[in-house]
């Protein structure tokens, strides 16, 4: 028969775990709201950037255009930017990204390509260290702590572009979680170098009517590196919103599970207590009868 005191101790420890998880859920919910706001506020910029690039790219297609747009002409070496969280306890958030990354690495290696990794977020590099440690060229952390600064992201963008220009890779793809709702995040792979051209929404005839200052190629040369940073930035914002969403959901279910466990343990505790009392009564009665 289980010891009453042990049961009591277990109930108390589950209760305190429940308190922690429900507090974490609240914190994640508050952070989620803010992260979502940031992500939404950042949308106009990337939408307008896309529009400009689409307009320009439409014109440049016939002439070839800069390397950031047209690519190096081969795809031997791939760089994957893996975006994860710095912290765990957020359900399948990190592992789903890592799983997608592994799959991608295997697939690229099968095709005989070279693979390099840049990990943003500590959890990604931790989990990939064992099997793909030698592929990780850089791992960054601490960017998603607090508000994400565009200047910090622009710095990463500049570094990627430097690597690209030095010929370290031909194609750059980022892997991150797109925010759908607090419950669902979608693992997304998005190619950022060479730039994937968004579908031009403006009519064909308006495209030709633009005037350019200084000229098309100069603007494009300035716009494209910015576009890389902008895409990284919006992906990071989405990713952070997803992280908090995933953590909120995970903590919510942890709190619920703890509640169920407490109920079950309390039931056992009461049963055991009753059994003890019954046993004692039987002992007393049989003792009295024996006299």
């Amino acid at each position: 028969m289980p010891n009453l005191k042990d049961l009591k101790v277990r109930i108390n420890s589950v209760k305190s775990t429940q308190k922690i998880t429900s507090a974490m859920k609240m914190v994640a919910a508050a952070k989620l709201r803010r992260a979502q706001e940031y992500a939404e506020e950042a949308r106009p910029y990337s939408a307008r950037m896309d529009r400009m690039i689409a307009t320009l790219a439409g014109k440049m297609n016939d002439v070839g255009g800069p390397k950031l747009l047209a690519g190096t002409g081969k795809s031997d070496s791939h760089l994957l930017v893996v975006m994860t969280a710095d912290r765990g306890l957020c359900g399948g958030f990190n592992s789903s990204i890592v799983r997608a990354t592994r799959k991608r690495i295997a697939q690229l290696k099968n095709d005989g390509k070279q693979v390099k990794l840049v990990c943003v977020g500590r959890k990604g590099s931790d989990q990939l260290q064992r099997e793909a440690g030698e592929l990780i060229t850089e791992s960054l952390e601490g960017i998603t702590r607090g508000k994400i600064e565009f200047s910090a992201v622009a710095d990463i963008g500049a570094r990627l572009i430097n690597m690209f220009e030095a010929g370290d890779f031909d194609v750059c793809t980022m892997i991150y979680n797109k925010f759908q709702s607090a419950m669902t995040q979608i693992v997304t792979e998005q190619q950022i170098i060479p730039a994937s051209i968004p579908e031009s929404e403006s009519d064909e005839d308006t495209v030709g009517m633009y005037e350019y200052e200084p000229d098309e190629s100069a603007i494009l040369a300035e716009l494209l590196p910015k576009n890389v940073s902008t895409q990284l930035f919006s992906a990071l914002l989405e990713n952070t919103a997803s992280e908090h969403g995933a953590r909120m959901t995970a903590m919510d279910s942890a709190t619920r599970n703890a509640g169920e466990m407490i109920d079950k343990l309390t039931l056992t505790y009461n049963r055991t207590r009753q059994a003890f009392i019954t046993k004692e009564l039987i002992e007393i009665i049989s003792g009295a009868e024996a006299l």
């Binding site: 308006t206 005037e211 200084p214 603007i219």
Partner: protein, 137 residues
């Protein structure tokens, strides 16, 4: 029909201004240009400088922009800028201190980072110059 242009100022973090104005003056890389309704469509890179917003003939807002682009069509003018500072909050001295600090850093690091820092310093100096001119006005 009272003619206005929809002016939008967007930074990576958020949409800062979106309203109908009578004219905006934008610091293009080839010189200042004013945008009135029915302006011809154009795309321009921006030099660091001040965007003046005119409503009914008077300047209602002035903002300092860094690293930007402008897209102009007949009925709207969109400015994308990495840094947007309201003109009252402009602080060239602070930037100068930062540049000084970066110079010191550039001397004390590896060659590779110092090249990167120097490029950054050059950029910031252009911005600083533009800020000083604004202050002098």
């Amino acid at each position: 029909m009272a003619e206005t242009t929809l002016f939008e100022l967007v930074s990576p973090e958020r949409l800062i201004i979106s309203k109908d104005v009578s004219m905006v003056v934008v610091p293009g890389s080839e010189g200042l240009f004013g945008v009135l309704p029915r302006h011809t469509s154009m795309l321009s890179a921006l030099a660091p400088g001040v965007v003046d917003i005119y409503e009914e003939g008077v300047i209602t807002e002035q903002l300092f922009v860094v690293n930007g682009f402008a897209e102009v069509t007949g009925d709207r003018c969109t400015v994308l800028a990495e840094d947007v500072i309201p003109i009252e909050d402009l602080n060239p001295d602070e930037l100068e201190e930062k540049i000084e600090q970066m110079r010191v850093d550039a001397q004390n690091t590896s060659e590779e980072t110092s090249i990167r820092l120097n490029a950054l310093i050059a950029q910031k100096e252009v911005v600083l110059q533009a800020m000083r001119i604004v202050r002098l006005k």
